[in-house]
C-alpha cells in the first residue's frame, strides 16, 4: 500500500488560513490502513482544526467525508457538487488523490499528508518500505526480498562492506535495519536457492524507474474508445 504521514497540524492550519469553508476528504484505501487519511483521521483532524480556528477567533466550516479511492474519478464524482461549493478541499489522500482532484475540479486542493513510500504493515502502528516501484522486479531471484527497496544503496550484488557483524546495516545508526543482502542470503538458504547468488547482476536499467520520467501504463485491450 501507499504509506503516508499526516503533515504537522501547524502546516495544515497555515494552508487553511485563507479559507472559511472547506471539505476534508479522506480516502478509504491505503491511507486509511496506514492510519493517516481515512474516515477516522478526517474526523480527528476536522475536530482539531475547528478547535484551533475557534480558539483563533476565526471559525471554519468543515464538511467531512471520505471516498473509497480518491485516485479514481468515479468514486470522487458523487462529491462533485459538494466540492464545487467549497472554498478549498483538504485532501487526506496520498499525492495521487490530490493530483486527481486537482485535474477534475477548479477549487484549490490542499494536501494534508506527506506521501512516503510503498510499504507493508510490520505490526500495528509500524509500516516499512519494501518495494521501490522500480518497474523491473527481480524478486524471484532474491527470495522475495527486494534489494532495491531494502538496501540503502540499492545494491544488486551485495552485501557491501557496511554490513555489521550482527547482520545490520551501517546506515541505521541504532542497528535497527537489517542488511537486505543478509536477509536475502538467509532466505535463499531456506529455499535451497543459494545458487542464485552465483549470478552477478549487470548494471540496472533504471529507465523503467522514475529516472525515465513520469510513467504511464496502457492496456490497449481495456480501452473503451476506438
Amino acid at each position: 500500500m501507499i504509506v503516508a504521514d499526516q503533515k504537522p497540524i501547524e502546516e495544515i492550519l497555515q494552508m487553511l488560513e485563507p479559507y472559511r469553508k472547506v471539505l476534508f476528504l479522506g480516502c478509504q484505501t491505503c491511507v486509511a490502513v496506514c492510519m493517516a487519511g481515512g474516515e477516522k483521521e478526517v474526523g480527528l483532524l476536522a475536530a482539531a482544526v475547528r478547535l484551533a480556528r475557534k480558539h483563533q477567533g476565526r471559525p471554519i466550516e468543515i464538511v467531512e467525508g471520505a471516498v473509497k479511492r480518491q485516485c479514481d474519478d468515479e468514486f470522487n464524482e458523487p462529491w462533485a457538487k459538494t466540492i464545487e461549493q467549497q472554498e478549498a478541499v483538504l485532501s487526506l489522500a496520498c499525492g495521487v488523490g490530490v493530483n486527481k482532484l486537482s485535474e477534475r475540479f477548479d477549487v484549490p486542493i490542499l494536501p494534508a499528508l506527506n506521501t512516503k513510500f510503498f510499504g507493508e504493515v510490520e505490526r500495528q502502528g509500524v509500516w516499512a518500505e519494501v518495494c521501490a516501484g522500480c518497474g523491473n522486479c527481480i524478486l524471484h531471484l532474491t527470495g522475495g526480498i527486494c534489494p532495491i527497496a531494502r538496501c540503502a544503496k540499492n545494491l544488486l550484488n551485495g552485501p557491501c562492506g557496511g554490513v555489521r557483524a550482527d547482520g545490520t546495516c551501517e546506515v541505521a545508526q541504532n542497528g535497527s535495519r537489517p542488511c537486505a543482502w543478509v536477509m536475502i542470503y538467509e532466505r535463499l538458504g531456506k529455499l535451497n536457492q543459494r545458487q542464485n547468488l552465483e549470478n552477478i547482476f549487470g548494471a540496472k536499467d533504471w529507465s523503467s524507474d522514475r529516472h525515465g520520467g513520469p510513467r504511464k501504463r496502457i492496456r490497449e485491450d481495456m480501452l473503451l474508445e476506438g
Binding site: 504537522p8 477516522k40 480527528l44 478547535l51 484551533a52 475557534k54 480558539h55 483563533q56 477567533g57
Partner: protein, 142 residues
C-alpha cells in the same frame, strides 16, 4: 451547577472509575456536580476523537480514568488509553489549548474518595487556567 463552574467530562472505565464514582455517591462524598461521567467498557475503548468532540461540545476539561496499572480487566486497555491521552495532550498544546485541561488517572473501584478528590482537583485546576477553552485569542495570536 452555576455558569462559572467549569464543565468536565469524565470518561470512566466500567470496572474501576465508574464503580469508584458510584461508591463516592454511596459514601455520600461531596464532589463538584459539574463532572459529567461517560461510562466506557474499558478506557481502551477510548477513541481520541471522543476527547476532541468533548472539547468541541463545550467541555472545559476532560478526565480519562482507568484501572490501576496492572489491574486492567482487558490486560492493557488502560495503558493504551494513557498513550492516546498523551498524544492528544500534545495535539491540544499545538492548537493553542492548555494540555492541562486533559488528564489521565488510575484508580480502583474501591477508591470512591480518590474519585471525589480527582473531580475536585480537576475542577480547581481548570478554574485556575486563565480563560475558557475556546476564548478567542487577540487578533493575530495563536
Amino acid at each position: 451547577m452555576t455558569n462559572s463552574e467549569p464543565k468536565i467530562v469524565a470518561f470512566c472505565c466500567h470496572y474501576c472509575a465508574f464503580a469508584a464514582a458510584d461508591l463516592a455517591g454511596v459514601l455520600r462524598l461531596k464532589y463538584p456536580p459539574n463532572v459529567h461521567i461517560i461510562r466506557l467498557p474499558c478506557t481502551g475503548k477510548l477513541d481520541t476523537l471522543y476527547i476532541l468532540k468533548a472539547f468541541e461540545a463545550g467541555a472545559d476539561g476532560v478526565i480519562v480514568a482507568g484501572c490501576l496499572e496492572g489491574g486492567c480487566h482487558f490486560i492493557s486497555g488502560n495503558l493504551r488509553a494513557k498513550k492516546r491521552v498523551l498524544a492528544v495532550k500534545g495535539l491540544l498544546a499545538r492548537i493553542g489549548i492548555a494540555p492541562e485541561r486533559l488528564e489521565f488517572f488510575n484508580l480502583s473501584s474501591a477508591q470512591g474518595d480518590r474519585f471525589a478528590q480527582i473531580a475536585r482537583e480537576m475542577t480547581e485546576r481548570i478554574k485556575s487556567l486563565s480563560s475558557s477553552v475556546l476564548t478567542p485569542l487577540p487578533e493575530g495570536k495563536g
